[in-house]
């Protein structure tokens, strides 16, 4: 018994020096293994068990020094690049707000609104940052049900505006991140695991259709597809990759075929490419966007389309404060502002994706990819619509456009993202290493006692 306590004392002494608790398990295991190896080596030289243990520990060196060294290496580091870029983007949003106060609206009021939401958003970001993101992988079902419950509650208490449950629609953007947790929890669950993931997706997708927010539906589908594909390619479900991919992509292909065969989509696509065929109807916004852009300069105020000389831009194109902010600043200040904004967002997104690929833990990888994709897809959709390609309605330009509630949701996503980048390196996907350790023929898994006669 004494050998055990001595080793334990030594390992505890090391771990006490390491402030990041998440890494304790891993270090404990690695060094314990080492001491055991060393002990066995001494024992094979004919030294008795207890002396061998003591000698092995002595060989290790001063636990305080080892612990301090390891603590230095494993200190959680905030990801300053993402924090800096986020603040830069928020500032850009506020800056644009100061310079664009259309006469028709109360510019000052809009400015204060943006300021308040930005501050609340930073608070939310900080909150999500300090809540450990691993809860997404620990309680995926609870999170999913809470999210669904909250959305249904919001739909019940609010009236649809222009046929859409606006307040509920914002929360849709949290589904991809929640889905990442769901996929994570399906490790080694085989084909049923994939089907269950599909069911979770189907529920969230159905909700987005009911709201309805087709853009969110599309965003949701894309994010979930990427995360699920990644999981399959990483052999997360322990099934044949090809069959698993077929299981995901075949139903998708069938539903795409059905959607396309209905004909409505074709009409929309045609309209998106050439809005001029219906300039006063469905193609109105896109036509006006393109007209405003055609008169834009590289630097400075652009000219208004011929028939609209008497009008202000806000009368020509409604929504310049939220849905068409980019179009407006291109018209008002020139293309260079557009370039600055798009460059900033691109740097942010690329940096975030690079950090995603560096994640060691699968949960960190799934969650950060889902959150980054949510922001990236919003950006792409927004930029496309603002350039006149309006296949879908824009959601928001992350951190910049005046779409207050989306700003809050996006800030939550950034908080989660930063939390992953801060501690993601330390999270180990426990289950796996544990499973491979159990070589004994009696296992206890998922509440079941398994006796396996095939192991030796």
């Amino acid at each position: 018994m004494q050998k055990h306590t001595k080793t334990k004392q030594y390992l505890d002494a090391i771990c006490n020096q390491i402030r990041c608790k998440k890494i304790h398990g891993e270090i404990y295991e690695e060094i314990e293994n080492h001491i055991n190896d060393q002990k066995e080596a001494f024992k094979s030289q004919g030294i008795d068990d207890e002396t061998a243990t003591l000698k092995a520990i002595e060989q290790m060196g001063d636990p305080i020094m080892v612990g301090t060294e390891l603590d230095r290496t494993h200190r959680p580091k905030p990801e300053w690049s993402i924090i800096g870029l986020t603040f830069l983007l928020l500032l850009t949003g506020i800056f644009i707000r100061i310079f664009t106060s259309p006469q028709d609206f109360n510019g000052l009021e809009l400015f204060y609104r943006q300021l308040i939401f930005t501050i609340v958003g930073i608070g939310l970001m900080a909150l999500c940052y300090y809540i450990d993101f691993t809860f997404i992988g620990k309680y995926p079902k609870t999170i999913f049900l809470l999210l669904v419950g909250l959305i249904i509650f919001l739909m019940a208490i609010s009236r649809p505006i222009n046929g859409r449950y606006i307040y509920a629609s914002y929360l849709l953007l949290l589904f991809p991140t929640s889905f990442a947790g769901t996929v994570y929890s399906m490790r080694n669950k085989g084909y049923p695991g994939i089907i269950l993931c599909g069911l979770f997706f189907a529920v969230s997708f159905a909700i987005s259709i009911i709201i309805p927010s087709i853009t969110s539906s599309l965003l949701l589908a894309l994010c979930c597809l990427v995360v699920l594909t990644m999981a399959i390619l990483k052999n997360w479900f322990r099934v044949k990759t090809l069959y698993a991919l077929l299981l995901v992509y075949l139903p998708m292909a069938v539903s795409l075929f059905m959607i396309f065969s209905s004909g409505i989509v074709w009409k929309r696509i045609t309209l998106a490419f050439s809005p001029f065929i219906d300039p006063m109807g469905a193609g109105y916004m896109a036509t006006r966007t393109k007209q405003l852009l055609s008169g834009a300069k590289f630097i400075g105020q652009g000219t208004l389309p011929e028939n609209f000389q008497q009008l202000s831009p806000v009368q020509i194109l409604p929504g310049i404060n939220n849905d068409f902010l980019l179009t407006y600043i291109i018209h008002r200040f020139g293309w260079f502002t557009f370039m600055i904004v798009v460059a900033l967002l691109s740097v942010f997104i690329i940096r975030a994706f690079v950090l995603c690929t560096k994640q060691k833990s699968i949960l960190g990888l799934f969650v950060s990819t889902a959150a980054t994709l949510t922001i990236a897809i919003q950006t792409v959709f927004y930029v496309l619509t603002n350039l006149g390609f309006q296949l879908f309605a824009p959601l928001s330009l992350p951190f910049i456009s005046q779409s207050s509630s989306y700003l809050l949701i996006n800030m939550c996503l950034i908080g989660i993202l930063l939390s992953v980048f801060r501690t993601g390196y330390f999270i180990k996907d426990k289950e796996g290493s544990k499973k491979s350790t159990t070589n004994s023929f009696v296992k206890f898994e998922d509440g079941k006692l398994i006796i396996d006669f095939h192991t030796h």
Partner: protein, 116 residues
């Protein structure tokens, strides 16, 4: 023969990377190999090795994975990355410059003596 500690410290990184260049290893194995290959000249303490390995891992020079390849116990194996191979090449070059300089100085007396 035991070598002075300060001389060893700087080159330990290089030696570890060199070991990993041949094959993936776990910590204990590295110490054993190092001691075997150097005829017990390098008796690396585990307390020095692990912080160093974890540091190298964080810098992306090596990466680790769990495996129970040759025994019942799961071990944390380390594998050298492309970046790590680059560092090894740099360290080797640095070492060669250093050691040849030392040798030149040490032999310098001899050549001077020959000249006279």
């Amino acid at each position: 023969m035991a070598i002075e500690k300060s001389l060893l410290n700087g080159s330990t990184t290089m030696l570890i990377l060199k070991l990993l260049e041949d094959k993936d290893m776990y910590g204990y194995q590295m110490i054993e190999e190092l001691s075997k290959k150097s005829d017990d000249t390098f008796a690396l303490k585990a307390g020095t090795l692990y912080p160093l390995l974890h540091n190298l891992e964080q810098q992306g020079m090596v990466c680790s994975y769990d495996d129970n390849a040759d025994c019942a116990r799961v071990r944390k194996y380390y594998n050298i990355t492309k970046k790590g191979k680059g560092l090894l090449a740099d360290k080797k070059a640095e070492w060669q410059t250093y050691s040849s300089a030392v040798n030149r100085v040490l032999q310098g007396g001899a050549t001077l003596a020959e000249a006279y």
